[in-house]
């Protein structure tokens, strides 16, 4: 296993190098460079233009620029952003990365969960109303033009109904006069969510595994109490309104991302279930007199899960793609929007930095899913 991981790391580094090189070439293939915007200004004297190009290193030959960017990237300092001068790339990204991660992880998690539940249900009872409703709406949402759909969501829920804000990360009016930064509040929110997830997982699985039936019955109430206690603590903490403001801004982009991506998991689960339902061990489970729900969940769906988990990667990558569009439509200042801006203005250091993070994220997701596979399917072992 350790040897396998080390080999995977090498492969990841190589893949990342390739991604970065291709990105660099693609961005350079655009006409002009970052300084072009200023160079076209007739009021600037030629020496200033030249000096400007030299400041950004744009006067050097392309291969030298490539090597400089590569050195910066692989030594982990990424350099200074052209567009956000003089802020270092690292600082810009660290501010925006958590916002994107929250979007990705929540939307992917939600769409995977919804897709799996629906797929399981429609495969088990074929030909029902649910199957037609879920398949038609799911495929429609999956294939719809994302920006148009996102704008529709804004039009309906933010503009017409006024339930949610139109876009952005927060509402400045709410934050006026507060002495905390948005990022510190957001980090606290993330830590709370993570702690709750770990706690719920521990209650559900650690206690269950002990075979203690009394605790098993208590696990759901315990989680519910914790889930109720968290908003209470936040409301009393004084920054509750600020957190609520961020939460309100999060809802629409997450719902939109979830809606456009759940159908993939749903259809895959459905097909995979239709295979496993015919397996002999499902028949055997039924012959053993297990309740139908147990036959479906513990045997048919559990085995149907295996190919679906592989697709988790694709839905993650789909979410990353989607996030560039969705973040732009909702003006959500995350990595996706940053990347789009940086590419358009040829802010090379920022492009490289954003690509490194997005690339690392998807490569790591691959490794995580591969490792997850070992736990899901006992037949798989890595040497």
């Amino acid at each position: 296993m350790i040897g396998y991981l080390i080999r995977r790391m090498w492969q990841m580094a190589l893949t990342l190098l390739l991604i970065l090189t291709v990105t660099f070439l693609l961005v350079q293939a655009q006409p002009g460079d970052y300084a072009s915007f200023y160079v076209l200004d007739p009021d600037l004297p030629t020496e200033v233009k030249e000096q400007m190009r030299a400041t950004f290193g744009l006067d050097r030959p392309l291969w030298q620029q490539y090597l400089i960017h590569m050195r910066n990237t692989f030594t982990g300092n990424f350099g200074v952003s052209f567009g956000h001068f003089p802020r270092p790339v690292m600082e810009v990204l660290l501010e925006r990365l958590p916002r994107t991660l929250v979007l990705f992880v929540t939307a992917t998690g939600a769409s995977f969960y919804i897709g799996f539940l629906l797929g399981k249900a429609i495969a088990w009872r074929r030909g029902g109303f649910l199957e037609y409703a879920a398949t038609i709406s799911g495929t429609t949402l999956f294939t719809v033009f994302t920006p148009a759909f996102a704008l529709m969501m804004i039009w309906v829920f933010a503009f017409k109904l006024g339930w949610f804000p139109v876009g952005k990360f927060l509402d400045p009016l709410v934050w006026r006069g507060s002495d905390v930064t948005a990022n510190s509040v957001f980090s606290l929110m993330l830590i709370t969510a993570l702690a709750f997830a770990v706690f719920a997982f521990w209650v559900l699985f650690a206690l269950k595994r002990k075979g203690n039936t009394g605790m098993k019955r208590l696990s759901i109430p315990i989680i519910l109490v914790a889930a109720l206690a968290i908003p209470l603590v936040w409301a009393l903490s004084g920054i509750g309104t600020l957190a609520l403001d961020i939460l309100k801004h999060m809802v629409l982009p997450i719902v939109t991302l979830t809606l456009i991506s759940f159908a993939g998991t749903m259809l895959l689960t459905r097909n995979s279930m239709l295979e496993t339902i015919r397996e002999d061990y499902v028949m055997a489970a039924r012959a053993k007199g297990l309740p139908e729900k147990q036959v479906r969940d513990r045997h048919a769906a559990r085995n149907a899960l295996l190919p679906v988990v592989t697709s988790l990667i694709y839905s993650l990558i789909f979410a990353i793609d989607g996030s560039v569009i969705v973040e732009s439509v909702f003006s959500w200042p995350g990595t996706g929007m940053t990347l789009l801006e940086a590419v358009r203005s040829e802010d090379m250091p920022l492009v490289m930095g954003a690509i490194v993070f997005i690339g690392l994220f998807s490569l790591l997701a691959h490794v995580i899913v591969d490792i997850l596979y070992v736990y899901l399917d006992p037949r798989i072992r890595y040497q």
Partner: protein
């Protein structure tokens, strides 16, 4: 083999099953009736597609959606299984009738430990109260079927074919059922493992005084392990009797043909017979006796009218021209 005095554990009367398909209605099982006493073993034999597995699945009430039970009753210890609600059937499965599956290779769920899958059945039916007791029980069962109890912690893919079959047998025994149905229990195994498992199954059956139904097309299996034999053809039971009697002197020409197509190791040398033709299409079975197109003894009456049931001691056959045992061209050899 005087087992007929006790009350039957299982009594099947006039079981008739149809499958509706796009081509029409398949008459899979037609008026099958038999009894099984405690501690007795019955072999249901016949070619593929003659309705053996459909009978077994009816006993478990594990039928596909397009199956329809037209008539008949299945009495298990005086309780009519076919009138139970789905939930009652669920509780009753495995606890009262368990099954050793046709495809033992794939009957274990690949993602759970083998022991856990046996415990699952025990937990569902509440046979033992605690996990420790259940584990102890599984260990005992594993020892009974000749598996190391340590193997409980292994996954199915780590088992060989024979080990899986043993695990399935242990699983079938786990809730002390009244009847075990063994559907082609050893088809996928090599002959040596097959023989050992059959012998063990037989000794377990005798030790625990269980009733077992073997479903097979292999006459050798039937000869080795069963007390009674039922020969099926085209969804009907065509001959029934004590295994020894049937092997000594089959009454139905089909039984005789089946037996002549299997070699006998200890018997006299003889050419192997083969039965030409195919089993009839159950969408539209032949009139009269379903076997008449392939039967050497068929006459006009066989083509027109259903055959009567002819008895000889405890043995009976549904035939217009039953063989009397002496003139049979293929009888007179002992398969043991």
């Amino acid at each position: 083999m005087s087992v007929a005095q006790t009350d039957p554990v299982l009594k099947v009367t006039d079981l008739t099953l149809r499958y509706s398909t796009r081509q029409g209605e398949v008459k899979a099982v037609e008026e099958v009736s038999f009894e099984l006493a405690k501690g007795q073993s019955l072999g249901l034999v016949g070619e593929s597609g003659c309705g053996k597995t459909s009978v077994a699945n009816s006993l478990m009430r594990l039928l596909p959606d397009n199956a329809r039970l037209v008539k008949g009753q299945v009495w298990l210890n005086g309780e009519d299984l076919l009138s139970l609600s789905d939930e009652e059937v669920r509780r009753f499965r495995w606890r009262r009738i368990a099954m050793v599956f046709q495809a033992a290779m794939n009957s274990l769920d690949p993602v759970y430990k083998v022991g856990q899958q046996v415990i699952e059945a025990i937990e569902t039916h509440g046979v033992e109260t605690t996990i420790d007791d259940a584990e102890e029980r599984v260990a005992r069962l594993f020892r009974l079927v000749g598996l190391d109890p340590q193997l409980m912690e292994r996954y199915p893919h780590e088992f060989s074919g024979g080990m899986r079959q043993r695990a399935i047998i242990a699983m079938a025994l786990s809730c002390d059922p009244d009847v075990i149905i063994a559907d082609e229990p050893t088809t996928a195994l090599d002959v040596i493992v097959q023989d050992r498992i059959l012998r063990e199954l037989k000794s377990i059956q005798q030790e625990l005084r269980m009733s077992v139904i073997y479903i097979t097309h292999d006459m050798a299996v039937v000869a080795e392990v069963t007390d009674r034999i039922g020969v099926m053809y085209a969804g009907r039971l065509v001959e029934f009797g004590n295994t020894a009697d049937v092997f000594r002197a089959p009454m139905h020409p089909y039984t005789a043909a089946l037996m002549s197509s299997f070699p006998s190791v200890s018997g006299e040398r003889r050419p192997l017979g083969s039965l030409s033709g195919e089993p009839p299409n159950l969408l539209d079975p032949p009139l009269g006796c379903a076997f008449h197109p392939r039967c050497a003894y068929a006459t006009e009456v066989c083509r027109r009218e259903s055959p009567p049931q002819v008895s000889r001691g405890q043995q009976w056959a549904a035939c217009w021209h039953p063989l009397d045992g002496q003139t049979s061209s293929t009888g007179n050899h002992d398969a043991y």
